[in-house]
Symmetry: C2
Subunit: 139 residues, 2 copies
DNA sequence: TTTGGTGTTATAGTTAACTATAACACTGTC
DNA sequence: GACAGTGTTATAGTTAACTATAACACCAAA
């Protein structure tokens, strides 16, 4: 049930990020429908409009296509698009900050490894591609 | 000059984080006054109330003391407090997410190292402690 | 005492995020 | 056609973040 929301980011963006993660992890493959707006809204006890907003973001990014009366579906090429875009975004915008924090706190590889195990996996499904571990949101 | 603001987080929290970084980096030492609310507001062209809100956060965390008519000053023990608190917070709340993203995107140490050079810190001061890069993965 | 620097409070307005509730538009199936 | 599932739009209200402007409270030094 209710996965928790991170207060450091709007819900609709976290929703978008979760779908992105699911695509990257292979949980959602191209052509697959994503969980319906109403379902997600109910499951996470969130307003349908909020879910829609997150999904619309994906449409705007060209990752997802919306079909009225049917649902929303992962576009072909979505994963490839993501691997490029998200990588660049992460390396340019997030990693430098995180890296600086690590340096600043004097954290050692061992400590990081030890802490990397925590998880709050939104769903059970798992992909068998490579070494992907349970997902979470990113960004 | 105008530091830019990240739209993924409220300004007052980013302000708080910058002061924290300056304390950890030794730019601001215990007993030092932090830049005045009005100055910061002017320099970053931000509302004084927003700056105050960020500073108040630091007061609430026991890192800073406010002296009316004088300024706000770093408390003794602030750095130690931070090294404990921020470490735990980072390892528990931020790193797992980041680590998962790295795995998901299949980023390699070399790529991370290469990208770590930009904007490492809000201010100039840099700790020149050895360049330890997070490596490895559990499982 | 005046001046110029501090933090702080008061009013009030804008915007983004989220919410509740309801209705509309479309699609496949019974 | 009825129905049950989709996405979508409409109204309207709450809250948090940020803003502008102004005033108040305090302190040290001229």
């Amino acid at each position: 049930m209710g996965r928790e929301w991170n207060d450091s980011q709007p819900i609709y963006r976290q929703l978008r990020d979760r779908v992105v993660a699911m695509i990257l992890d292979g949980v959602l493959k191209e052509g697959d429908p994503l969980p319906s707006v109403r379902n997600v809204a109910a499951e996470y006890r969130v307003n349908p409009l909020t879910v829609l907003k997150g999904y619309q973001q994906l449409v705007d990014e060209g990752l997802v296509e919306s079909k009225r009366g049917l649902g929303m579906f992962i576009n072909t090429g979505a994963r490839k698009l993501l691997l490029q875009g998200e990588r660049q975004k992460f390396l340019a915008e997030e990693w430098p900050r995180v890296h600086a924090t690590i340096q600043r706190l004097g954290l050692k590889p061992e400590e990081l490894d030890a802490a990397a195990k925590r998880r709050s996996s939104p769903d059970g499904a798992q992909s068998k591609t490579a070494e992907s571990k349970p997902r979470k949101e990113e960004r």
